[in-house]
Amino acid sequence: MAIVNRTPDSFFDQGATFDFDAALSAVGRAVGAGADVVDIGGVKAGPGEEVSVAEEVERTAPLVHAVRARFPTAVVSVDTWRAQVAEECVDAGADVINDSWGGVDPGIAEVAARRGVGLVCTHAGGQQPRTRPHRVGHDDVVGDVIAATVRLAERAVTAGVSADSIVIDPGHDFGKNTWHSLELTRRLSELVDTGWPVLVSMSNKDFVGESLDRPVAERGDGTLAATAIAAWLGARVFRTHDVRATRDVVDMAGMIRGTQLPRATRRGLA
């Protein structure tokens, strides 16, 4: 799942794809590099300038529409916590709603149900959108994450979302400190064991940065290490800023597990 932000201020890309054409080019590069899903966002996750519903729609829906037209086989996801934005993007052709703030707007599941699109159910620890964790404690972070994501997934099914259109996301860094995100990654198989497909969103995040004491621009290797382990433990979707490398890491992990065929075996076989 390739991250493409139409934001002027996201933490990693710092506005590189805020411009419409730049965003569309980034989607082209991501699809060319092997992305199955393109996740389009219009509001940075962290605190900052307020973005109205109208502005968020203006940033995301036209891009969704253009991507739909130009890359008909790509799955298009929209990263939003607002039902109204989700609905407008589904109108424009989005297939998935990535509700990355953990269901703060219950209307999101209803949009997914009514329109027959996919839904990402995320644990954000009850944080309000665009807020940072402050002294958040978890007696059992994995238990909290499983309880919250499964509850959201079941609520979505009750609302009418097709069960095979739902994935769960433990929400690394969202309402969590670095210890929590490391433990979640270590125990990811427990999330996989719920039976819901697991999406991980770890790309260049603070838990990688703090673990390795690296600034944002130097977290790629750490992200890929986490990606390999999450893939080994059974995660199915990987939200990333670096599609080519992520594709290789995930494929390699699958080949080592034996769930995927190597691409070009020749050695010793001639």
């Binding site: 605190p47 900052g48 807020t131 940072r132 964790p133 402050h134 002294r135 404690g137 978890h138 007696d139 400190n177 210890w179 703090e210 004491d213």
Partner: protein, 251 residues
């Protein structure tokens, strides 16, 4: 009667096991907290009560268990500072940290805990504080209290233009033993600014009744976007009735 009080931050990153970063700032902050507690100990209290914000107002005995484990790799701890292998953790974060701080400086005397609900009115806080003022013996408080968590754009609560002034006013009140100023702090503003120290500091204002006080503001900065205060209030040393006896912790 209250004879001394220390104010220290309630940040889990005081605990080196939780905050592994090699940081001069943190090392200095930890040193100042130890110095504050050494100053309180030099006042020879019979007991130290840890006062901090919590989900509800409640008192705790010495054997009450707290835990820093929800924040990372840390032990469960009793208010006495001993490791707790049994018992359910009931102490809020602020009191667990206070217990940890007391253990750090090797306090083995009597301890107690008071958790103050964030929703407590200033009047409630004063009433709670008065109990310590009236208590017989030499009573000391360790007040776990922070300023605003909205001191910078990188702060946990992002930036609020009112935060720096809010913290300055609290620091000035601590430096001047200005109980009236502490009691003037508006609970609603404190909540908006994510200032976890308002209620515990107003308990302190209620406990520190009249008489002479000597204040030492040992630290007042916001290196992680949260206003930290390290301070002490002590009644001038009365060693066998001799006012002004030099205090070894001051050297």
């Amino acid at each position: 009667m209250l004879i001394a009080a220390a104010v220290c931050p309630g940040a889990p990153l005081l605990v080196p096991e939780l905050a592994t970063e090699r940081s001069d700032v943190l090392a200095e902050l930890r040193r100042r907290c130890r110095r504050a507690l050494d100053q309180v100990r030099a006042s020879r209290p019979d007991s130290i009560t840890v006062v901090g914000a919590g989900p509800r107002t409640a008192t705790f005995g010495a054997e009450a268990v707290g835990s820093l484990a929800p924040y990372g790799p840390a032990d469960r701890i009793r208010l006495t500072g001993e490791r707790a292998d049994t018992g359910v953790a009931v102490l809020p974060l602020s009191l667990s940290l206070g217990a940890w701080l007391l253990a750090e400086v090797g306090w083995h005397g009597r301890v107690g805990g008071l958790s103050v609900a964030e929703s407590s009115s200033s009047g409630d806080c004063v009433s709670l504080g008065c109990q310590y003022a009236r208590e017989p013996g030499r009573v000391a408080l360790l007040v776990i209290a922070d300023g605003s968590a909205r001191r910078s754009r990188q702060a946990p609560g992002y930036w609020d233009r009112r935060a720096a002034g809010f913290d300055e006013a609290v620091a000035a009140a601590l430096a001047a033993v200005d109980r009236t100023a502490l009691l003037r702090v508006d609970p609603e503003l404190a909540r908006d600014l994510l200032a976890a120290g308002r209620a515990p500091l107003q308990v302190l204002a209620g406990a520190a009744t009249d008489g002479d006080w000597r204040a030492d503001l040992l630290w007042h900065e916001a290196p992680y976007g949260v206003g930290y205060f390290v301070a002490t209030w002590r009644r001038p040393t009365v060693g066998n009735g001799d006012p002004g006896l030099p205090n070894p912790a001051d050297r």
